[in-house]
Amino acid sequence: MNAYITDLNQIESWFFKLAEKQPFFLPIKTEGINYRFEKLNDVRENNEQSFPELLSYKPTLLPPGKNIFPDGEILFSYYKDEQGHYQFTQGSNIESQIISGIRACDLKGIHLMDAVFSDGIKDIHYLQRREKTHIIAFNCMTPCDEHCFCEAAGSLDFQTGADIFITPLVEENKFLLEAQSSIGIELIKTLTASECLNPVELKEQALSSRPAPFGRQFVEPIEQVSKIIHQYDADKVYQQYAERCFSCGTCNLVCPTCYCFETKDEFELGNDLSQGRGTKSRHWDACLNPGFAEVAGGHNFRADPAARQRHRVRRKFDYLPQRFEQTFCTGCGRCGRQCTTDIDIFDIVNDVCSSVSETVAQELDK
């Protein structure tokens, strides 16, 4: 059996124990109104705040998957040896880390990134860091805020890929912890808890006590949404949102499944102005930025902001689902929450679906 029951106090002291051995991240509100995944030890030193609002926190500014795909990551460094040959070394040292307090939507985000970075030519930089990243996730009992639509996007209850998965039980201050991997079994050893003999039953009880529907719902079921997004261009809908879009890329950069990056070379010049030594790093990129689809010669495949909006929506609901057979929007609500002009992918999708049913209705009337 790998299921245990304990309370929040025990979980708290267990987290501090884990944080002594390796970097341990969890969502903390360090300033203002937003949360970030912060190192527990740093927080303890700089902050009086008691234990984080683990179960009620508003999704963090950046999704936890960014810890495995850091901005500015050095891919490799190189130098020219005495024979004039280039020598390469793989970038940064990768140390193991625990990311805790991950909501199911963000867990799914990491799962989708795993799929992308393992597809075709494997991305060793991501995969090596992923292997050394251990995850403690939990099940949401109430929608995090008014932007949540995880149930509609099919990521509520997602628990694949977590080493330990926590479910808050109906009985107050009781939590079910399931160790789902050998690392999880190892980590949970330091937790003070009693073994749980009927996890399935208790979990079912907890899940059925949740509000239904859970968070916002699309006007169509998710399978239908994908078909509509694929089939209809819905120019007017995308245009309407593009009119107030800054093309700033925030929606991409805060998305748990946006993985595009650009690479940058930093080099030192030798005395003969040759590149003797340097590094190649990668930085998060955003397809809403106008320069993203610009190619040599200056042609831009998506110069129009409405085309970029549609591209984003289709990446999440059409293109990537076709390839990986899963919806690439997790319903975390970050893009809508953080857009300064309130462009929410949830609204776009619903508007596209509604505009299509109107079109279909009009055609039937004729």
Partner: protein, 257 residues
Amino acid sequence: MKPKIAFFDFASCEGCQLALLNCEDILLELLELVDLVEFREAISEKSARYDIAFIEGSIHREEDSKRLLDIRSRSQFLVALGACACNGNVQARSNFIAPAENYKLVYGEEARNRVQIDKNYWPLWAHTRVRSVEEIVKVDYQLRGCPMSANEFLHLVKALLSGQIPHFPENAVCVECKRHGNECVFDKGLSCLGPIAYGGCDAICVNNGHVCDACRGLLPYANVEAHNNLMLSKGISKEAIKSRYRMFCSAEKMSQT
């Protein structure tokens, strides 16, 4: 022969050149590779031709634009250095105000009344329009910001010296804020020009708890109308918004406001 690099200053505080002098480690590395032939802040050597000419400052008088044309004709690459050269900077706010009104702002009402009866009292600057370098000569590269960023400077010089094309993404400041995991300035209850302003500064102001005032100028695709509406929705007056836009972006086109 080492490539020749020169710095020229026009109407500016020369802060960009000082920002460069502050990066001693970068400069020493660079000086190994180039000949610095004109740099008023540091040396007084002269040269007939330049491989890279850096222009600091905005252009006001006719004689300044002639000097600039002369520099251009002797330079392979001409780079606008800093906000004054790139978009006029704060001094270009005077472009929006009638000369007599400007004069009053500086010297008071009495002086303004005097120039209206005696044209000899007009100072040289009073009738000039503040221009960016690009309004007079072809600019190969812009190193934006008040002051310019030493990292971008080094990137540009290294790229040009080694025969590459320097790359400055035309992205909003928001991109760099997100890369830093900053809380959005609007979430703090403040307002920000980041969504319509050139990034490249690494969001240095927001990283340090300030807001963005677009010292790097407006992006060519800036959705000013949407930004204006956003600012209005936060309860900021039309006048205050206009003034904010003009602070650093004054010589830029602002067709939509």
